[in-house]
Symmetry: D2
Subunit: 226 residues, 4 copies
């Protein structure tokens, strides 16, 4: 079942509070919010918690990354098959904290498609977004690395990068949907993202580090039009 | 609780049969074998299956690898804290299929000790074994890469590498115990490893790919003296 | 001065015969061939021999690779500035033997342009060629890795990959010229490449390992139409 | 001819002033200083300038790094053979700005010895120094990364790390000589290094960025006892 847009993808990263009980609590809150508001929300837990979280929620659960390898005589790797086996329906790849070789992006996107998993390739600017579009992932998330984890939303700091990414990606492959991220924290930021042509947002600290997670989520979801 | 020796560490790698139901079945067989014979057995499942397997078995569950990073704003990484949180009591590191920078081996060994997790550093020859001993891990597993996954046990193909590793490691740090691996498949191979001075063996395909896993395990465990 | 097309780029790689006297001899032969026939030939020597070769020849001398970093407190790196300082006018990047992260390809292409150096990004297939085109390098060289160093030219084994790359690249950025490589050894292979729409070829072993280099070169150059 | 100790190894790194004319000027100054004072000085220029500098000086010229590969079908790599072919008599390896996998350190040290080239492995602390000693390089240079490029010499900030490295290395392999580096800038720092048991120092910015290079060198050389 394809992910509906506009969508909000929440990357839990590997913060101390991203594993175990607090991660499960956040997962349930995201699930409940999606159910109550009809918002399209995707959660990306740490790989060790994928199985547990996936069993408790109805929203799509994605991995934060995967290794570009087939199952076999390898040690410590994370294959797409392993992820799918514990319920992951998609994956982020090429996050600025986990850059991939170009050849490996192509490999992972193609393999994900074959396994019926969704893929979202992260890109640092409009040029990279355009390049990624050639690989044909389901989503591209443009995130200027210098704004990640910061207090100013990309939609305020650099609206042009979002608009330009949307435009360039459309020219190369109109089936690819563009998200934006970095510093997104409020419903207003989300609304602005959609106005700039994005199909949604990619968030991490804005939710994981929020004091009042429930209120923050309701505000964000409001920006999606829910 | 420190791992007893002689020990048999089983690395499930990421073979197609290393995840889900067959992995759980193997885990239960290992657990049962350990309980019935009193043999010291450690299992290293793929990271996605760590949680499930750890809940079902009494033998120590270790990770196959970890990233040398602290929890924080990182995407797709595997921290020692994440592994410990799902029940891992130790980890392999620097496997020939996942070589690490020297600085990162030291970091992971020190961090594991601090978290009270066991560590086993893989080495390709006696020189590397000696170098690793300086880091003070709990175990060093010497495995000539060219024999990994093959049909001839290191104890037959290159007994000298085992004897020499044991000797060199003892000189540098007498608390570090030496295992050997690569091509180990039978109780006779295990017995030979112990005769050469090793404190146990590291196995993967010899168990995971065995047709009759129960018989294979009983034979191997016999080599440990059980 | 931009490189004229059709062009033949010779990657000397780091074969034993690619350094010192035999490399200089080959460089002079390439230079002489270019002068006598008017063919456009580029040579890519090992980084240690760049300076010497550049001083002796009139054809453009390119580097085989560069690190995506600025000059500064770094050890053992190769910056574009260092290469330009010893006379390199361009560079190959992302060769299948030296794959780069996507972000680094973009960085190097942009930096090369700023320094007035030519860039040729290697790609493994039409999808990668298309992605690379978004970065706007001067050239893209499509080389199926499985044919590199082999006996069958890409133009025979997989003409479709060349035609498709030319077509896809043109759609994304019509200023980018497409070369092809892998297994190219004869004038007939070169002619076929041009017929498929390529603007030239990228060769290595076909020239470096040729017994009669002079005859081989004359044959290849004939394929360029000279 | 083995390098005499106490020795001062100057790593030019890849600063803007480390290439071309200023690099040559510094090389000649180092050469002249060595000749006039009898001090043992080694220079490590950027790889592109190795050939030129080696032709003009009598002091040993080393590389800043090398790739752990044999000559062959590889692109953009730097083999030990290439370095030796342009006159390099030794090399630094595993600098904190260019960390290597443990297996590759062993490979490079062994290959350098076979080619009669000197090797100096950089280490971050006494534990790494000890581990490196097992590989049997000619030198180990202990450099706490947090002090590199700074204003306080390791000999002042952390004399214990030097003393401990000397002691630990001697236990593992008494033929390996220990240098120290990071923040070393004056003759007093050098003298202190020798008092702590080191056989010399590894410097970069302290010389390359010095305003009055001649005076700085004379001061440093005085610390060596010349």
């Amino acid at each position: 079942m394809p992910v509906e847009t506009p969508v909000m993808i929440i990357n839990l990263k590997v913060y101390p509070e991203s594993m175990g009980a607090p991660a499960m609590e956040l997962a349930k809150l995201l699930d409940e919010t999606a159910r109550r508001t009809g918002a399209s929300i995707v959660i990306c837990p740490p790989v060790t918690d994928l199985f547990c979280i996936q069993k408790e929620v109805g929203i799509p659960v994605w991995a934060q990354a995967a290794d570009p390898v087939e199952p076999g005589s390898r040690t410590g790797h994370v294959t797409l098959e392993m992820l799918q086996n514990v319920g992951a329906e998609g994956l982020l790849l090429n996050h600025s904290e986990r850059r991939l070789q170009m050849a490996d992006i192509g490999w992972l996107v193609a393999k994900a498609r074959k396994l019926n998993m969704d893929s979202c390739v992260c890109a640092a600017d409009a040029t990279e977004s355009k390049a990624c579009a050639a690989m044909g992932p389901d989503f591209i998330a443009v995130e200027p690395p210098e704004l990640i984890g910061g207090d100013i939303s990309v939609t305020t700091a650099n609206p042009q990068i979002v608009r330009k990414s949307v435009e360039e990606v459309r020219k190369v492959n109109s089936h690819v949907r563009v998200l934006c991220g970095a510093g997104v924290k409020t419903g207003k930021d989300v609304r602005k993202a959609l106005e700039l042509g994005a199909h949604g947002v990619l968030l991490a600290s804005g939710v994981v580090k929020a004091r009042d997670k429930k209120a923050t989520l309701m505000d964000l979801v409001g920006g999606l039009g829910r």
